[in-house]
């Protein structure tokens, strides 16, 4: 392992990310204004997921970190999703 060096992210990039995040925010507000019935939740959640991916990779530097950290984050989200899925096996089929 060579000495872990820090990658310095230019301010510009952070700014672009912010713009993307704000755009997604407005898009998610927009999509829920359109009447999509049960899919509006889905739409809003897709945008929330996109936003969180941006935050995780850029703001939280996952892009520049060791791969196992990315793996861990993914793993934790998967475990959580699996728990929700199994809980719904009860409520959905009740």
């Amino acid at each position: 392992m060579e000495k872990e060096k820090h990658h310095i992210v230019p301010y510009k990039i952070y700014f672009y990310i912010l713009i993307a995040l704000i755009t997604f925010t407005f898009m998610s507000i927009g999509i829920t204004k359109v009447n999509l019935h049960e899919y509006s939740v889905l739409g809003a959640m897709i945008f929330a997921t996109l936003k969180s991916i941006l935050v995780l990779t850029w703001f939280m530097h996952l892009k520049f970190d060791q791969p196992f950290l990315r793996f861990m984050v993914g793993f934790v989200f998967l475990v959580f999703l699996a728990v929700i899925f199994i809980t719904f096996l009860d409520y959905y089929y009740r």
């Binding site: 475990v79 699996a82 728990v83 199994i86 809980t87 096996l89 009860d90 959905y92 089929y93 009740r94």
Partner: protein
């Protein structure tokens, strides 16, 4: 801040004089070994309370009707007994005591990654314990919900539940911090050359455990917060009259509390995986298989919580999914048992006392685990759920498993930790009484459960009498054995013979440092070569 140069390498951690004196040299010490002993002594204190409560229950149950206490007292007693035993003894038990002491030494590090956080987690432990005990001493009566705090009873009861809930929350926090510390320590501080596949099995088991602690404990934290808020404000999340679903409480509770049972057993299995090869003087059989099964238990164990709720009215789909997952999680445990026993094949066995504890561990663990299979199957669980059968199952596996492993571990590492040797004859006498008492105490409960005696019963019908008498007698024999074991160890801390560096001819790193180890463990960080390994005899 001490600088490295000041710490002498010929003074043991017990004699080292730091900045503080007397008791402060302990409670302000960030040395992982001292923190380990702090845990050991505070746990022993709580453990004494828990054992006395257990004995009181057995005395009450010796005959139908009132023997020594009222129903309300009995309910409070099993609640406090359960809370103490689960949250203060077996969950922190092996990781906090032996993990803290041995983990850094076994991987060749000078301390854990965050020594101050380590001390902080002990403070949290003490704070949590004090809160739980305060709920007994003050307020409108001791909590009487059982350790499961099931809604809606937990916000209907008039007793003093809030401090207990808060205490359990803080104990959870302590457990999280320990887990966090261990993961970072294992990732960052292994000795040069010690690859993951050369790490001993006890650290491996702590690694698996730590992930469960990290990912499951927050769920119970938030659940207990919700119960507290329900009690204070009536927010309605678990209150059926306000639209909440009490069964959802059970989901959340067991999402933590089932993985928690593997927090208890995995380090216990890890300790057994150290003891067996050492006393067999043989490489452990199936090193990789044991690691794989540890990780498999930790992972699959996260998804089986629903087997505690087979009668609570889940959907059929959920029920058989949970049942089948429960059966799957039993397989890695079976693999471990097979590997341990195979390690003894063609070995050269030195049947010292730690080995005896380890073998009895395997025996009672099999009984406990196999009875878990009865509980995992749908038809039979509906029959014996919430009966004495479940009580027998979890005493066999929690207390049998973790307790026997704990005693095995303490007899194994005692010479290293204290630099003294205990009296081996008394140790065997204590072990014999303990084992016989244990089997007499808990075996009748299987039978009672099959007769249909419900658990948490203060009083029972006359047909259950005979087995209960036997069980109560067993509790006395076992306590007698326990006393012998504990007194023997306590005496030896002061007057035991001076121990050698490596009394059992073990091959892991802790046997290369002096007994007791110096403050920073190693003068020079050991380096693992190509041929080195933890079990190369």
């Amino acid at each position: 801040m001490q600088t490295v140069t000041q710490i002498p390498h010929d003074v043991s951690y017990l004699d080292y004089k730091g900045k503080y004196k007397g008791i402060f040299s302990w409670i302000f010490s960030t040395d992982h070994k001292r923190i380990s002993l702090l845990y050991l002594y505070s746990m022993l204190t709580m453990f004494t309370v828990g054992v006395l409560l257990g004995l009181a229950m057995k005395l009450e149950l010796i005959a139908p009707g009132k023997t020594i206490m009222d129903p309300q007292t009995y309910n409070a007693v099993f609640t406090v007994h359960g809370v103490i035993m689960i949250f203060m003894i077996v969950i922190p038990g092996l990781p906090a005591v032996f993990g803290n002491f041995m983990l850094p030494i076994m991987i060749g590090a000078k301390d854990v990654a965050f020594p101050k956080v380590n001390l902080l987690s002990w403070y949290f432990y003490v704070l949590g314990a004090i809160l739980v005990i305060s709920s007994v001493l003050f307020g409108n009566g001791t909590p009487d919900t059982g350790w499961t705090f099931y809604a809606p009873y937990s916000f209907k009861t008039g007793t003093n539940l809030l401090p207990a809930i808060f205490g359990a929350f803080i104990l959870g926090f302590s457990s999280i911090l320990t887990g966090l510390n261990f993961i970072v320590t294992i990732h960052r501080m292994r000795a040069p050359g010690m690859t993951w596949m050369k790490m001993p099995l006890f650290p491996w088991s702590l690694y698996g455990t730590a992930w469960i602690q990290l990912l499951a404990t927050p769920v119970i934290g938030i659940t207990l917060v919700l119960v507290a808020l329900e009690r204070i404000f009536g927010i309605g999340v678990f209150d059926p009259t306000l639209g909440g679903d009490p069964v959802l409480y059970q989901h959340l509770f067991w999402i933590y509390s089932h993985p928690a049972v593997y927090v208890m057993i995995l380090p216990a299995m890890g300790a057994i995986s150290e003891i067996i090869p050492t006393f067999s003087q043989k490489h452990i059989f199936g090193y990789r298989a044991i690691i794989a099964s540890t990780l498999a238990i930790a992972f699959v164990g996260y998804f089986v919580w629903g087997h505690h709720m087979f009668t609570s009215g889940m959907s059929g789909t959920a029920q058989y999914t949970f049942s089948i997952l429960t059966f799957l999680v039993a397989i890695p445990s079976a693999i471990k048992v097979f590997n341990w026993i195979s390690t003894m094949h063609k070995a050269s066995i030195n049947p010292e006392i730690p080995f005896l504890w380890a073998v009895t561990f395997i025996f009672v663990f099999m009984i406990g685990g196999l009875s878990g299979l009865v509980l995992g199957a749908l038809a039979t669980d509906v029959y014996v759920h919430d009966t004495a059968f479940v009580v027998a199952h979890f005493h066999f596996i929690v207390f049998g498993g973790v307790g026997f492993s704990f005693f095995g571990a303490i007899h194994y590492w005692f010479p290293k930790m204290f630099g003294r040797m205990y009296d081996k004859v008394w140790a065997k006498v204590g072990w014999a009484f303990f084992t016989i008492g244990f089997l007499t105490l808990y075996s009748p409960m299987f039978y009672l459960g099959m007769l249909g005696m419900p658990r948490r019963y203060y009083d029972y019908l006359p047909e259950f009498h005979a087995a209960n008498i036997l069980s109560s007698l067993g509790s006395w024999v076992m306590t007698f054995g326990l006393l012998i074991v504990v007194i023997n160890l306590f005496r030896s801390v002061k007057i035991g013979a001076i121990a050698e560096i490596n009394p059992w001819n073990g091959k892991t790193l802790e046997w290369t440092v002096p007994s007791p180890p110096p403050v920073e463990n190693f003068e020079e960080i050991p380096v693992y070569g190509e041929k080195d390994g933890p079990y190369e005899y």
